[in-house]
Amino acid sequence: MQEKLFTYMDSSPSTGLNDGLLGEISIAIQPNMSVRGWPIEAGSRALEGFTAIYDATVIKRLKQAGANIKGSICMSELGFGLAGDTGAMVLNTGEVDSVLITDTMGEARMAACMAGVIGFKPSYGIVSRFGLIGLVPSMECFGILAKNLDDIAKVMSVVVGNDSRDLSMPEFGSGFEIPNFSQVFETDEPIRTCGIIKECLEILEKDESRAFDAVISRLVKSGLQIQEARLKDFDLDRIVHNVIGSVEASSSAGKYDGVRYGHRTNTAKNWNEMYMNSRAESFGLLVKNYLFQGAYFQYENYDAFIDAARIRTRLLAQTEAALEGLDVLMLPTRHAAFDPFSACTINTVYDVFSWTLLSNITGHPAITLPGMVTFGDVDLGLQLIGSRFQDARLLSTADRLIDLA
């Protein structure tokens, strides 16, 4: 069983005796986070045989805090979607306390939702991306799966914060602060009001609607204030993410040419053919489609990309406005009813993630809580979106909502 869930296990894992903050926490990672000396193939033949030559900043900080990084799990190719990802299963075997997975479209939250655990995606920019291999730099983000909020807060308190090796992070201290995860659950600040998004609720199926209404009315009964918020362009997240994501993916994957590492073709007469054949033999169908689509927007329809970037700015403004005066926005972590692990067209993948894309587009922190939105066969996660850089507050709100519901 283990062999299938893990792609690589550290032969000399830490004993967990370290007295660091994470001394008792064991972690599994996706093989797209650089750990010195580990194979880091990111689920793709394009990185076949690639071994990390340094630790990602996140890994360095985890090691310093004494975390036991046990091994790496199976992941979808380059972290796009969840096909073949074993993160949530490894967590459920009890082998590890936490799994770190890249959240580009909502993968951490969706994997959590399907496995009945908690999935968290922090604000964009508070965790260094140095050493993380991805596909969509402006959307993807380090994410965490865990069984309780406490473990998430602990891991976050270690990995969060500026990194001189990643200057794309915002300069904390000038108007906003690095979230402080150290005493998340000891606050006695009351929850003010939570928002529900009108445009989301309108498109729920009848049973989903009932499940969501049920949790809301339980919360209201427990004294929570609920307010309706507007997000006029909610239905555009899918197209915005799809266009921008594929364009960024197309350039990000440009470096996978099979020359210095990864699979290299045997059938090429010149360098041009070598590139094309190596890439053709390396990428899976889904990623290939995504890269083709991105190249299409780059070369043939740049205006569509510009439009998407414009709408993205609008979505950010709308989300900020919707959060005005609220603690969090609440929406279900809904997913389509088919098997996401075998999804292999861009459309079916976006069907799975259409309810989690928003915070990847806008950079807001988001969390999915299991088992709270249920009705009959319906079991949706409850997704909370917090204000940017208010990640600690989002976790404490989640903690209290679990109690209230």
């Binding site: 650089s34 880091i40 990111a42 990185l47 690639f50 990390a52 030559i53 340094y54 990602a56 260094s128 991306r129 140095f130 050493g131 993380l132 291999i133 969509v136 730099p137 402006s138 001189s164 090796r165 990643d166 200057l167 794309s168 364009v247 960024e248 197309s250 350039s251 994957a253 440009g254 470096k255 040419d257 020359v259 210095r260 360098w271 590139y275 780059q298 070369y299 740049y302 990309f305 970037a309």
Partner: protein, 475 residues
């Protein structure tokens, strides 16, 4: 019909920053292949570019020196193309939001009239790796040297304001002077730290339309640029006369054959905003701080040299061609030598001597102090100018002071009337016919007599005193 050429240039200039643009590797492309490399400039998976402040500062100084408007917000784009010198598949450049817009450089045109040539924009760009083509036995192989990958460049794009090869060459000279003054770039076309592509089109003289242009590359000196443009104007004129259409394409200058040849079209990829490097925000305060770091630029310096030192405009222009030269000139003058003598001696004697020996002003053994000593001896008439030239040579070869050289090698000038009188007498005896000519009213003959006397004195006599003595003796 008469045609006129419409010429615009695109110039890449390497900034002499200590590190590369997005990592800490040394900016020394000439080192042993692949010694200045790291995961970032190799663009290995997981690398995050880290934009260097030094690049921004030096690029900004260059923009200010070119009278550009530095933009409050600029950003990097990915110029997407696939080629072995660029294994990450895109080059980071500023396409949509350049660092600076507009700007200008003034040149003197062929008729000596000032002409302002406008710039369109100046933007930052990383250089790509270098391909080296070799053979292994009989198999051709291509090697990639990443030392150059990620080194900082600025690209200067001009408006199509130039009309002749002369304009283009003057522009490049003026550009080089301006940029070298900032201390941010070496601008050597021969060493590849400045590269220039020219866009050339023709139109009926006096028109204002822009016709299809042809791009010419591969010129590695300013003269090549002039020659390539001249050739291209001729080639296009002939095409037009023969009724052949001009098509948009790129040509390579062949310096051996002195012609341009069409090259295979390089694919122009798209430019998309880079999601990793943050946008660059420039505040007025920071910009003012940068402007205060800008040295006095050539035009201001020429005016000051004319006013302060009484140089002629041409002399001042020559003394300001290089910042080091102008600083050397002023250092010598500060030590008490008279400015015009210094300027003339630097231009006529020192510069050629330094160049001949492969020195720079900063590395030459003829320091400002030693050179000032020499000029002072000359001005006090302790040596004549012939001897001064000999002392100058010794200044390169020894560590002695000019005085010591003068004494040790007996370069001192003989002004003593008694000693000179003996020589004069001897010359008069040996050159009876010249003496006769002089006495008959041919005053020019005295030059010949002085020359003979100088020869006899082995160049050490004071020629002014000689002339006086001749005049007195031959009354």
């Amino acid at each position: 019909m008469a045609y006129e050429a419409v010429i615009g240039l695109e110039i890449h200039v390497q900034l002499n920053c200590t590190t590369k643009m997005f990592c800490d590797c040394p900016n020394r492309p000439g080192d042993d292949p692949n010694t200045n490399i790291c995961p970032i400039c190799l663009w290995l998976p997981g690398a995050v570019p880290r934009f260097s402040m030094e690049t921004l500062e030096k690029a900004t100084l260059a923009c200010l020196a070119l009278n550009c408007e530095v933009q409050p917000r600029s950003a990097f784009d990915q110029k997407v193309y696939y080629y072995p010198d660029l294994p990450k598949g895109f080059q980071l450049s500023q396409h949509h939001m350049p660092l600076a817009r507009r700007g200008s450089i003034e040149i003197m045109d062929e008729k000596g009239k000032p002409k302002k040539l406008r710039l369109h924009n100046v933007h930052m760009e990383e250089d790509v790796a270098k391909l080296v083509h070799e053979t292994e036995g009989r198999i051709p192989i291509s090697l990639v040297d990443f030392n150059r990958a990620g080194t900082p460049l600025i690209e200067i794009v001009t408006e199509p304001d130039m009309r002749s090869p002369y304009d283009a060459m003057e522009f490049l000279k003026a550009l080089r002077i301006q940029l070298r003054y900032t201390g941010c770039a070496d601008c050597s076309m021969e060493h590849g730290t400045m590269r220039c592509d020219a866009n050339i089109s023709l139109r009926p003289e006096g028109g204002d339309q822009l016709n299809t242009k042809v791009e010419v590359k591969n010129m590695n000196s300013i003269h090549h640029v002039g020659n390539a443009i001249a050739y291209e104007i001729k080639r296009q004129t002939e095409s037009l006369i023969n009724g052949e259409p001009i098509v948009l394409h790129t040509r390579l200058w062949d310096p051996e054959k002195r012609i341009t040849t069409a090259m295979r079209e390089k694919f122009e990829g798209p430019c998309v905003p880079d999601p990793c490097v943050t946008q660059i925000l420039v505040t007025d305060e920071w910009l003012q701080n940068m402007a205060s770091k800008l040295p006095e630029m050539p035009n201001q310096k020429i005016n000051r040299f004319v006013q302060q030192y009484g140089l002629m405009h041409d002399e001042a222009a020559q003394m300001t061609l290089e910042r080091e030269l102008s600083e050397y000139f002023e250092a010598v003058v500060r030590l008490g030598a008279s400015p015009r003598t210094v300027a003339n001696w630097i231009a006529a004697q020192l510069l050629p001597a330094i160049k001949e020996r492969g020195y720079e002003f900063t590395t030459s053994p003829v320091t400002a102090e030693r050179f000032a000593g020499l000029i002072t001896l000359l001005e006090k008439e302790e040596i004549n100018s012939n001897s001064a030239k000999s002392v100058l040579i010794k200044l390169f070869e020894t560590v002695l002071t000019p005085e010591e050289i003068m004494d040790q090698f007996s370069f001192g000038q003989v002004s003593d009337t008694g000693a000179l009188g003996v020589i004069v007498d001897q010359v008069i005896t040996e050159n009876a016919s010249a003496v006769e000519n002089y006495k008959n009213g041919n005053k020019k003959s005295i030059g010949f007599l002085v020359g003979q006397a100088m020869k006899l004195s082995k160049g050490k006599a004071n020629p002014k005193r000689l002339q006086e003595i001749f005049k007195e003796t031959l009354i």
